[in-house]
């Protein structure tokens, strides 16, 4: 008798459980998705990814490819042109009047014209660009290593992040990105002014674009105008270290 009761109640329990599980899956995930606490729990995984990848791969080089591996067409994404008249004037003039500013927590702020960047020792690399959306394209990039420019400016000991301020905007919000010093001093981290054996075209971020090869596409800031060394990302725009990080909740460390 007691056993039968137990079975009936279990049966009921299972039925309620099954119905509940179905309902929970449909609406529960959306409300969990809106919950601040749950989101911050999920966001905790970003530190796990970064920690795991740095565990054994801190100095690893991204794979480099042969010219025959290159994509026939390299898809341009994000902002492909800039309406700002000052930019358009510089573009028309071949960026002869343009200069990259390097400032913030540096001993010696720099103003580097394009010709100065072009006359520094160059690194050329054929790498795969992986967009957060899922597609990939292989292209050839050339430019000076970021580490060389940072060494020229001399980072102050408090500097922990390198921020890239860009000329492109989404609405009124300027694009920007940031990386830490491990990625900033990585040998494949370059400021590319050449792409696929030609001057970097506007749609890919002329005059220079950051290449930070072990991370997803949105970290590769285009139209870089100014590089700033900082001790913290707080207080800058949305405080999360990048346009998509601020506006779309993308991970700051985009290694996966």
């Amino acid at each position: 008798m007691t056993e039968r009761k137990l079975i009936v109640s279990r049966r009921k329990l299972l039925r309620v459980g099954a119905l509940g599980a179905g309902g929970l899956m449909l609406s529960g995930c959306d409300s969990l998705n809106r919950s601040e606490g749950f989101r911050s729990l999920l966001e905790g995984a970003e530190d796990l990814h970064k920690g795991f990848q740095r565990l054994g791969g801190e100095g690893a080089l991204a794979r480099e490819f042969a010219p025959s591996d290159m994509s026939p067409v390299f898809r341009a994404n994000g902002n492909r042109e800039i309406a700002d008249s000052a930019y358009r004037q510089m573009l028309a003039g071949g960026f002869a009047d343009w200069a990259l500013k390097v400032d913030g927590l540096v001993e010696k702020p720099l103003v580097l014209p394009l010709a100065a960047l072009q006359s520094l020792p160059q690194r050329q690399q054929i790498t795969r660009h992986d967009c957060v959306e899922g597609w990939s394209a292989i292209g050839k990039w050339q430019g000076p290593q970021l580490s060389r420019i940072l060494d020229m400016a001399g980072l102050k000991p408090q500097a922990r992040y390198i921020v890239f301020h860009c000329a492109d905007r989404f609405g009124s919000t300027p694009y920007y990105e940031s990386i830490d010093l491990i990625d900033a001093f990585h040998p494949q981290t370059i400021l590319a002014w050449r792409m696929n054996d030609a001057l970097l075209p506007e749609r890919h971020g002329a005059p220079i674009r950051l290449r930070v090869e072990r991370q997803l596409g949105y970290k590769h800031a285009k139209f870089v105008m100014r590089i700033e060394a900082r001790d913290s990302l707080a207080g800058l725009h949305g405080g999360k270290g990048g346009y998509w990080e601020d506006s779309g909740d993308y991970a700051w460390h985009a290694g996966i």
Partner: protein
């Protein structure tokens, strides 16, 4: 499975201990993880609903699989040269508020239900740890405690086509093993469980890692083994659909075999042996 699998004094109707605690715990953790990974993965796919072979692949490159729509508002799935109309389900569908959406997978199948690549990635990349660590731990544990060897290993006799065909035809007639025979997994169960545990789940985890640019720099062979990042993405998707196929058959079998007894055995470990058909 029962510790007394070899004894044949059990008969239909007897209660036996069926699944080990490790199996029961992992089963439910994995069930949640797989479902979340699938639904958030479908949302991630929606951001670029095309699949390629090789290292690279973007809109101007040929895709072997694509979910999209045409100017007439028809949802279309393209596989190789074949095009299938899927209006209402894939490519073009109506959301819960009656708005027509042009996205690959519909809102009822994705996490979150409204388009958000960022949110889907939050879920997917966090639950990836649950899935990955769960699979690795359970595989390791099942090797140590003999579960794989004792319960999943297939004998030559079992793999004989005649035997496999016999089991298939018995299953097709919905005649499942009863009494003491139900203590052991039959060959179709062994094939399904080993396919999931030893092939689909490990490959889905590894192809997930293969897509990470950070992992590709650290361990490029993971990506190269699959023939490139876009190939790994394709295999990841195919494995996910292998898991969906398993899930559907698995649920159907549980329902047909007696859902209460089956679910109870995966929660409490107590399993009531099915009676012979004559016993009713």
């Amino acid at each position: 499975m029962s510790e007394a699998v070899t004894s044949d004094h059990f008969k239909g109707g007897d209660f036996v201990r069926r699944h080990r605690l490790s199996t029961r715990i992992w089963h439910w953790i994995n069930a949640v993880a797989v479902l979340v990974m699938l639904m958030s993965g479908l949302m991630i796919f929606n951001a670029h609903p095309r699949l390629y072979w090789g290292e690279y692949g973007a809109n101007s490159d040929p895709a072997w699989f694509e979910i999209g729509s045409n100017a007439d508002g028809q949802g279309l799935v393209k596989i190789g040269d074949a095009t299938i109309e899927t209006t209402g389900v894939l490519g073009v569908w109506t959301d819960s508020e009656g708005v027509v959406k042009k996205r690959a997978f519909p809102g009822w199948a994705t996490i979150p239900s409204n388009y958000s690549l960022a949110d889907a990635r939050l879920w997917h990349l966090a639950f990836a740890w649950v899935l990955g660590l769960g699979v690795v731990t359970y595989l390791f544990w099942s090797l140590l405690n003999g579960h794989l060897w004792r319960d999943i290993r297939m004998s030559r006799a079992e793999l004989h086509p005649k035997h496999v065909w016999h089991d298939i035809s018995e299953h097709a007639r919905l005649r499942f093993p009863t009494g003491a025979a139900a203590l052991k997994y039959n060959i179709l169960q062994k094939l399904a469980y080993s396919g999931v545990l030893l092939v689909l789940l490990p490959v889905v985890v590894v192809t997930g890692l293969a897509m990470s640019p950070g992992m590709d720099a650290w361990m490029p062979w993971i990506t190269q083994v699959f023939g490139g990042r876009q190939s790994a993405r394709s295999v990841h998707f195919l494995c996910a659909f292998g898991l969906v196929a398993f899930f559907l058959v698995h649920i159907a079998m549980v329902v047909l075999a007696g859902p209460i007894n089956e679910v109870r055995s995966m929660i409490t470990g107590n399993y009531r042996l099915p009676k012979d058909r004559e016993e009713g």
